[in-house]
């Protein structure tokens, strides 16, 4: 392989510098500047943007984003784990079909699927009518915090299912047989063998649900009706409507640092790097 030289990767190295590293540095730089008198080109170096973020109002948004994303991740796990264990009991070719059926909806545009939920959850939608029929009248569904969490679960659930399924698939059946030969009962088989071995899948699945959920602004905007602002909404607002890029940059930095902290913790749990690549499909 040494006949191939490493320099064919150099153009991409330059590309990464220009379009990944430099933009990040620009935003870091922006986050430390402010323009107190709103004059063109008069910027001063300051920590003001970060201090402003310490306002209880903004901290609540951050807190809410993390709580919603955590709940969504937990629900995804509670659906995916049993589901993956059931799929794995199917014959091989039906397993593949089932997995394909589970990820097929992802090929429909993400915004359209979210919009369809707006229709389903609306006041005279199917679910609402069904609840009326059962006698629960006037329960608001759309524009509630549960609608936001539902949107997160619906859109990101395959990201949890696939890694868990892959991890379960890798478990050697001989290992389970050996464990039961050695006297493990079904409960021990689960807690001591199956569950620990599927842990890498659970951790990488959790990360892949948690990250888009914590930073979303589309789902909270459409299904929460703007009532439940998340940190993503705040960033979007600063950049696109309020034009306060410096503050927006500072919030993005805070979000990024927190996400890397979570990643670091996840890495400590599994003891190795989180595998996010190649599992998107």
């Amino acid at each position: 392989m040494k006949s191939f030289k490493e320099y064919i990767a150099y153009p991409y190295g330059i590309w990464m510098l220009v379009f990944i590293a430099v933009p990040l540095l620009v935003v870091v730089w922006f986050s430390f500047l402010s323009n107190p008198d709103f004059k063109m080109g008069e910027y001063v170096f300051t920590l003001e943007n970060y201090q402003n973020f310490m306002d209880p109002l903004y901290l609540e948004l951050l807190y809410r984003s993390f709580i919603y994303a955590l709940i969504a991740t937990l629900i995804c796990f509670l659906i995916s784990y049993p589901l993956a264990s059931l799929i794995i009991t199917l014959p091989e070719h039906r397993q593949n079909t089932m997995i394909l059926l589970m990820i097929l909806p992802m090929w429909v545009n993400f915004l359209l699927r979210t919009y369809a939920w707006m229709v389903l959850l609306s006041n005279n939608g199917i679910i609402s009518n069904f609840l009326d029929f059962l006698g629960f009248t006037n329960i608001p569904l759309l524009y509630t915090q549960w609608a936001v969490i539902l949107g997160m679960v619906y859109n990101f659930f395959p990201f949890m299912l696939l890694p868990i399924y892959t991890a379960m698939k890798k478990i050697d059946p001989d290992l389970l047989r050996a464990a039961s030969d050695l006297g493990a009962n079904r409960f021990q088989l689960f807690t001591k063998v199956k569950f620990p071995l599927s842990m890498p899948g659970i951790v990488s699945g959790s990360m892949m649900v948690f990250m888009p959920a914590v930073s979303t602004f589309v789902i909270s905007n459409l299904l929460g009706g703007g009532k439940y602002m998340l940190i993503g909404n705040l960033i979007e607002q600063q950049f696109l409507t309020l034009n306060n890029w410096n503050f927006g940059s500072a919030i993005s930095m805070v979000l990024m640092v927190l996400i890397f902290l979570v990643l670091g913790i996840a890495r400590l749990i599994t003891g190795k790097e989180i595998d996010t690549g190649g599992q998107v499909l």
């Binding site: 379009f19 059931l86 993400f110 930073s215 696109l240 979000l255």
Partner: protein, 259 residues
């Protein structure tokens, strides 16, 4: 009993996953413009779709961006994976670290960083910036799909081919390439899907003149989406289904043919 329980769980999950899609498809045949109230069957939205320049233009940009981004990122990604594989680990580490950034950083942060760069160096945002952004977030996935294929190769397989008399060109195309091809295909597929479906990064990196389907849908969502969009997504979903069925039948055949 156990089987019944299992099938009931599958049915429930599939209902949850497909309910919104069914709603989209059903209302594409609805005579009323308002989703949620049914007032008779029609095909008029399908006819009107092909006359709507705004939607067709968005579709055109979506496909152009996806095709260009997929082609460029698959080629660059594959070549870079070869280069990275041959790197000294001292240099490989920073490469992989930087390559992982677009995968690990939230979309919104990727979007605003690129937007800040484009504004900072005052490039007018439009099709070019959109394509640059898509290439930037697609290449990492191609590399992450191709690189593991190299790690699986027997060491020195390329040299072995040369020793057995292959020219470097033959050794690449006849030995190396077929081995990494599955990685390239899945990388290209991931890139294409990500590009077609992307909203957040596109939203921040495009100008007023260029919108893709996601942006069009987002701007319509609050006031109510035009049934023409439903018609379009029904057609796209049908195409995917047909494609998958064809692939399934063909792969089913090839399995039978191998003894």
């Amino acid at each position: 009993m156990k089987k019944f329980f299992r099938n009931a769980v599958f049915a429930l999950v599939l209902l949850f996953l497909y309910a919104p899609i069914l709603v989209l498809i059903i209302y594409s045949f609805n005579d009323s413009k308002i989703m949620g109230s049914w007032s008779g069957f029609t095909l008029k939205w399908y006819a009107m779709l092909f006359k709507d320049r705004y939607i067709l233009e968005a579709l055109y940009y979506t496909i152009v961006v996806a095709l260009v981004a997929t082609t460029v990122s698959t080629i660059v990604g594959t070549l870079s994976a070869i280069g990275i594989y041959n790197m000294h680990s001292k240099r490989r580490k920073p490469y992989l670290f930087m390559n992982n950034i677009p995968v690990l950083v939230p979309d919104i942060v990727m979007g605003i960083t690129l937007m800040s760069l484009f504004i900072f160096i005052s490039i007018k945002m439009g099709l070019t910036t959109l394509i640059i952004a898509h290439i930037t977030f697609c290449i990492p996935y191609v590399i992450l799909a191709v690189l593991p294929r190299f790690n699986r190769l027997p060491e020195n397989i390329f040299e072995a081919a040369l020793d057995l008399g292959a020219t470097p060109k033959q050794a690449f195309w006849k030995v190396l390439f077929p081995e990494i091809l599955p990685g390239i295909t899945s990388g290209a597929l991931i890139a294409f899907t990500l590009s077609i479906d992307d909203f957040v990064i596109s939203f921040f990196t495009t100008g007023n003149s260029v919108t893709n389907l996601s942006i069009t849908i987002y701007s319509m969502a609050k006031a109510g989406i035009n049934p023409k969009i439903n018609a379009l997504s029904t057609i796209m979903f049908a195409c995917i289904m047909i494609l998958l069925i064809i692939i399934n039948i063909r792969s089913g055949r090839s399995v039978k043919q191998t003894p």
